[in-house]
Symmetry: C2
């Protein structure tokens, strides 16, 4: 790490401010999963939530203590300065911060005079006392304290002297960093740069930056703040956040690191950025933008056309960075993301050694590329990828049953305003028996799932433990006409572990059926059930 | 318009550079529709395409001459400087630019020395001659010429003197504006500002800016260029474009106009921005980002919570601009976009006077809000909205037939690798007859469409002319579980006009059925077919 960047804070707030995004709902398990991804990316701080404000965030910190072992990151608990008129020690929300046992506490404080009066309904002096008392109390309890100045930039315009006083008060009370927040997101880069430089000059405090994207400038504003002296940068994965979102953490870090020479993430972990950004999107189930800077699947895609040969001779003439530096790939025409190296790595993860047979690896890579072009994804669907590797390496696909046919009927209900009901019939052979089962559901896929599991259960009672725990549908090709390509991801659990499978097709029912078959097959293989086909 | 902004060019390249986006395909009719929207927004220039490079763009200019009457915008034809070693007059691609009859021609030229050598395979001097000759030729033919310097910013770093020479050559030959393009999108705002100021200083040419979003800074870079003296700004609706996209035109204009005091769009047309951005997204069928700066549906949405009363007292403390200035709305909690004013306006468009009865308008607004909360959209689905208004204003919904029941079967095919086939049966009463029809299709919706139209046709032969011309599916609630909400938009045509209807539900089949029913009902009403129910 270069001397200037020693101790720079890359501070992620996906789990707290990012989760404010409309339509984004994270379970405690989701938050733990995302925290592991963030740690892999190498961020320095992960803001886990606001313990005490809701039971989920309190539970997150409790489980994080037991279940998370972070290599790079420190967990931070978010909270507010004490309420007006009570001592910090007596404020139950401050107590919840202590009880979270997080070594870092990030406090939000008002720094805009009118917000103090209108939203807090207290005096400007009492607000300063709230800042000072709460910081001192938590410092005395042995915590490191960062302080977020809410609405800071608008506050400077309304009452610069008061906004500066909040910064000074926090720093004097022992806040390690004072974070200037563009809470309404209305700033432009020149303004941010000027104000950060002014505050640094006037207060001498260590400053951080927290931007929202309401002007489309959150990334540029964050960079401008760092250029002006901020040494702590808050952002969210994939730019999640309320309204237009927070600054996209990966884009800001990549700009600072690859364009401006800062060294912020440890080692080469920025090379994990594309994979991790997509993995987080799989958890939130918000389709990632193909155009997302640095990590989008289209972000280094070229319609080669006339320039194909020039691109081959000197690709750097046509790309602003080498995409490998963020774990992305240049794509010409329709070639998809899978490279041999990533497949080899993924195989290793799943217990397959693909290094010894170069031809085999090439064949698998080609097959994956072909499948990805038609809409498959294996980043999340490990179980389907495992079955594909098993087929290639072992010579045939694990098989426990042979489907003869299936059928699903959806029909109008009586009365007409009730929801339509679906009924599925599955015919298959398993363990020497021919089985015909009918299942019902509130939709065609539910019905098929019920029928399939009932049918298999007779031959393989292990299936009884399997539950469809998540079902995600994505329309991939939103082009005109009825031929849209639909991708279905299904998560199945046996109560202990869970696995994800994928299906693709023009027909949502057929795509779902494909994913259901993989789910059951992988589950039986995982349970070491004897596969008749494998020994046939 | 203020003195400084007199003659500023707001230049849209959605139809040319925006259409380079992976997965974005525009028909000639789509391009004409988008051009009308852009004209409504008040942009000064619409780059329509590259005539001569493909038949579609040539046709676009031919049809635009006959069919487009633009109030604000001037059409520009895009093309390249002449090829090496031929005269501009003899180059067939230059001829195609003349034949487009566009009064403005925007030429792309190389300005990076290595691109001249590697991609054009010619000398630096010949490239200058290509610029000079082509500009002079088109000027002599009476055209205004803008010149895009491709890879300009990287070119300055590689060979500043040569890049400046290209700008000078173009300006001296008569190019009205020389546009500096960050073709690879790797710039940051400070760099753009410095280079634009330097080029202005060194050449005295009128400068434009064209940015891509590879660093997440396209908007900020465009603003920085204007701050440094550029008076021509190129962007795309919704930030469409190759890789990470082009600068989002609306965000740049809104920043310049609402934050920096420029006056760029005529009158109050920026207030149309949200509506037009969404209308363009309906044409491209790329789901708009709810987080898009200024125009996103979440961009002024607040989880009011603790601050609800403060927001009510002084909303400007919680928003960076008044959302009405870009035609957006502040939303608290789940309240959706529909306001009385917009419903009144939309009603007027469709021929309903909703001004006289305030209670009726309030009732309709409430109903639309409720429907929008459950996933309906009426921005594009005019025909479904018309039926809703007819029901409210006339006291009952137009009705031509009574559905008794429907059923659709999807089943596995033989052989197993063929696509699954669907078969639908519809039972209904129309014109006193009970009709039962079965139809087939390559998916459940196709099958239902075939069956429904065959059934209705017996009573209403007009239906024979109706064709399902477009079918779009969007998963709205990508939350966990099988309960995702699905929205279907169906476009139907009678060969002369087309109309769009909407259906929403957990079951794609049921949502599609709803949209199909609206489509047929609206078509019959449009054809002035006697509605038995309306006179019952």
């Amino acid at each position: 790490m270069s001397a200037t960047d020693e101790g720079f804070h890359v501070y992620d707030t996906t789990l707290r401010d990012g989760a404010q995004q409309e339509g984004l709902n994270l379970s405690v398990v989701d938050k733990l999963t995302i925290a592991r991804h963030l740690d892999d990316l190498g961020v320095g701080y992960i803001e886990g939530g606001w313990p005490g404000s809701n039971p989920k965030d309190t539970e997150f910190f409790a489980r994080a203590r037991r279940e998370l072992s972070l290599r790079n990151a420190t967990l931070a608990a978010f909270g507010a300065t004490r309420r007006p008129g009570v001592s910090a020690a007596d404020d139950p929300l401050v107590a919840a911060l202590r009880e979270s046992e997080a070594s870092v506490v990030t406090l939000v404080a008002k720094s805009h005079d009118r917000h103090v009066e209108l939203a807090l309904r207290t005096t400007l002096d009492e607000n300063l006392a709230m800042v000072s008392d709460t910081v001192r109390h938590l410092r005395a309890e042995g915590r490191r304290v960062f302080l977020d100045c809410e609405h800071f930039f608008d506050g400077v315009r309304a009452n610069r002297a008061y906004a500066l006083e909040v910064v000074r008060t926090a720093a004097e009370a022992g806040a390690e960093v004072v974070v200037l927040c563009d809470t309404n997101g209305g700033m432009l880069p020149d303004w941010v740069g000027e104000i950060v430089a002014d505050v640094a000059d006037q207060t001498g405090a260590r400053l951080g930056i927290h931007c929202h994207n309401d002007t489309g400038c959150a990334v540029a504003n964050s960079v401008a703040a760092v250029n002006a002296g901020a040494t702590h940068m808050q952002g969210c994965m994939n730019g999640y956040g309320e309204r237009t979102g927070n600054a996209d953490l990966v884009a800001v870090v990549a700009n600072l690191q690859l364009k401006l020479g800062h060294e912020l993430l440890p080692g080469t972990s920025l090379r994990e950025a594309s994979r991790i950004a997509h993995a987080v999107a799989e958890v939130t189930n918000i389709p990632p933008s193909s155009r997302q800077p640095y990590v989008g699947v289209s972000s280094f895609a070229h319609k080669a056309g006339l320039h194909a040969s020039a691109i081959r001779v000197d690709p750097d003439l046509y790309q602003h960075i080498d995409p490998e530096r963020v774990g992305n790939d240049m794509r010409l025409l329709v070639s998809e993301m899978a490279g041999r190296a990533s497949i080899e790595l993924k195989g290793k993860e799943l217990g397959y050694d693909l290094t010894s047979d170069a031809q085999q690896l090439a064949r698998i890579t080609e097959r994956v590329k072909r499948l990805e072009q038609t809409g498959y994804t294996f980043e999340a669907a490990d179980a389907s990828f495992d079955l594909l590797l098993a087929e290639e390496v072992e010579g045939q696909r694990p098989s426990y049953f042979a489907v003869e046919s299936w059928r699903v009927i959806t029909e109008s209900s009586t009365p007409a305003d009730a929801e339509a009901l679906s009924e599925a019939t599955v015919k298959l052979r398993a363990a020497g028996q021919r089985i015909v089962v009918t299942g019902e559901g509130n939709g065609p896929v539910n019905a098929l799932d019920h029928a399939l599991r009932q049918a298999i259960e007779r031959a393989y009672p292990e299936v009884e433990q399997f539950r469809l725990t998540d079902y995600r549908v994505r329309i991939l090709d939103q082009g005109h006409g009825t031929d849209a390509v639909i991708r279905v991801l299904i998560e199945t659990s046996d109560g202990k572990e869970s696995w994800v499978t994928v299906g693709v097709g023009h027909n949502i029912v057929e795509a779902s059926w494909e994913a259901l078959l993989d789910a059951v097959t992988f589950g039986l293989r995982r349970h070491d059930v004897h596969s008749p086909a494998a020994t046939a």
